[in-house]
Symmetry: none
Amino acid sequence: MPNFGPMLKAAEIRHTGFRTTIALYGLALAALVSILKYIEYRFLIRDLRVEVYIGVVAVLFTALGVWAGSKLIEGKKAAPAVVPHAPNEEALRAVGISTRELDVLQLMAQGCSNQEIADRLFISLPTVKSHSSSLFVKLAAGRRTQAVHKAKSMGIIA
Amino acid sequence: MPNFGPMLKAAEIRHTGFRTTIALYGLALAALVSILKYIEYRFLIRDLRVEVYIGVVAVLFTALGVWAGSKLIEGKKAAPAVVPHAPNEEALRAVGISTRELDVLQLMAQGCSNQEIADRLFISLPTVKSHSSSLFVKLAAGRRTQAVHKAKSMGIIA
DNA sequence: GCGCGATCCATACTAAAGGATGAGGCGTCG
DNA sequence: CGACGCCTCATCCTTTAGTATGGATCGCGC
């Protein structure tokens, strides 16, 4: 069985091991062949045409590829947050923004209200206000829109 | 090698006909089978095992899927990357934002309060509210931060 | 002329945001 | 252990934002 692993590996390299991915990929392929063989046997279909096999495989693996591709892009989009790290990480510490404050800031940048932020982070409204208040001090902003604007220009958020 | 390009139109199915996509997909599949058959003939390989067929197809279509998936995501996320200039003018008219509303929107994006916007544009506070209200309607936003976020993603503002 | 949209302004009200202050739990570090 | 920063939550209060409604002017096109 050929080794297809590497193509998918990039998609989930952070969560899954290389060998594991390859193994799963191979298993999926084997399972697919088995299923097709079973169908061929079960319904007494002789000479199930190769084209049918290929069609089914093509569809399934295209879907798989689309999924993997999506993951791949997500990984790349999340990674750049890693590459611009220079400004990101640096600016973060320079301003002294904590983890939780960053969470609030990011949701804030997406246009969430304080209540929505509270709901998404599973904290209370006063807590969100607390974080945002300290954010405004650290970013020298008086309003949330200004804080978002400054944070973006500083590379703290995307 | 067959032309796989058009298949990926699945990523931008809105622009390409559905039938066209399916047809091209089928053509690609047929081409692939032909190639395999040719290889089987060319190298005098008898009984090329189905598993090999499936393996090859799986690899190719996974790659295809990855590519399509990437395109799909890019299209969704980086639409402005496709059309750098157009979105501005185009999106503006599409949403129906007027000149004055754009002025307000831009200052809003810079973190200005309504009062500051009023001062800079030499208009009254109620007028700014009037413009921003219609902006929220046109941008389908409930808050100014959300309006700014949407406007940026639409390429209406920088 | 007349409708229409854009711009401007106003008032009154509700909702959200922001500021000030205090306080408890928790992990770290000297 | 005790100071300290972070996270959490609360209450009171002020300011800003947003909604609703209405009215005025002006230019444009049918």
